[in-house]
């Protein structure tokens, strides 16, 4: 009997520890990089869907919603792009203050498959960018995010991409404002943006 109580106590302790661990993990993920990291200004130089070179400097004056992804990603990427599309719809007249960008981390394949048709299917306001490998790596470094190629014989073309699934908000002066972690509801992104206009 005493043993059972001890066992029960241990279980309770173990479950409590798990909840606390999960809680802190969730909290750190929820805060993201934004609130803790000092201000920085990410930069990029990448070709758009038509092959024109676009740079971070030309978007000054607008808020940027930046998502790094690849179009062969049917699960995570459409969710975020759908949320961005919803936000753009719900912004109404304020939509002109926000430029959503989809930066391909798989630029060669995405250019071949067609980036414009992909971004347009979510929302006409979303601009797709696909640079060279070096330009893409430089942009990712500047945003302090990770992406990598994972060889996988079972994947299309023998590889898949791992990447940071966050959505990044850049201010009109080019400064990093915050990240919305994967799964942030469109309504939360919308109200955050509206609080900044």
């Amino acid at each position: 009997m005493r043993l059972r109580r001890l066992q029960l106590g241990l279980w309770v302790a173990a479950i409590a520890a798990m909840i606390i661990f999960a809680g802190t993990k969730w909290a750190t993920q929820g805060e993201g990089v934004a609130e803790t990291s000092p201000a920085f200004t990410p930069v990029f130089t990448l070709a758009d869907e038509e092959g024109r070179i676009r740079t971070s400097a030309e978007f000054r004056g607008k808020f940027l919603l930046v998502f790094f992804g690849f179009t062969n990603c049917p699960d995570v990427c459409p969710t975020t792009l759908s949320d961005v599309a919803q936000v753009m719809d719900d912004l109404g007249a304020d939509a002109e203050k926000v430029q959503p960008l989809f930066v391909s981390i798989d630029p060669e394949r995405d250019r071949r498959l067609g980036l414009a048709a992909y971004t347009a299917a979510f929302h006409p306001a979303i601009l797709g960018l696909a640079g060279t490998e070096a330009e893409t790596q430089a942009a990712a470094n500047s945003f302090k995010i990770f992406y990598g190629r994972e060889n996988d014989a079972a994947a299309p073309d023998g590889y898949s991409m791992a990447h940071s699934p966050g959505l990044f908000l850049i201010g009109p002066d080019g400064e990093w404002l915050r990240q919305f972690t994967y799964g942030t509801p469109a309504a939360d992104i919308l109200s955050d943006l509206q609080s900044r206009f």
Partner: protein, 157 residues
Amino acid sequence: MKHFLLAAALILSAPAVMACETVTIGDLTIEHAWSKATIGAGRPGVFYVEITNAGSVDDALIGIATPAAGMPMLHETVVQDGIASMPHAMSIPVPAGQNVQLSPGGYHGMLMGLTTALKEGDSFPVTLSFEKAGEVTVNVDVLSLRAEGPDCADAGQ
């Protein structure tokens, strides 16, 4: 021939659009099967479903097959240390008395080598293979590219 069969399957299932079909096999109930429209057939499609095990024996989803794709596979999206990847899932546990969802950001069927583009309003069959219960086929509703969950009145999302 494969194309013809697929076309026939799509046409036959057309009147049952947004059917939100529920099928059962043994103690398993399979419902809310949906997919997202694709742009062309060059990129993989996706398959989501909800499985409830009302029995007292654990089971597992070990594979999927469909005429809509040459290489359908089970994947799991994993976000670890802020990095998302989607490794192959050898099997998806369906424990006794529990409800398991293949849903955005988690387990999903990855439909590689699409036979044809998936269009909103279409539906296509997917056969699920369970370790113990065996095989069962469900019709999958193709929703908008922007859909985030099944479009069923009773969808308990």
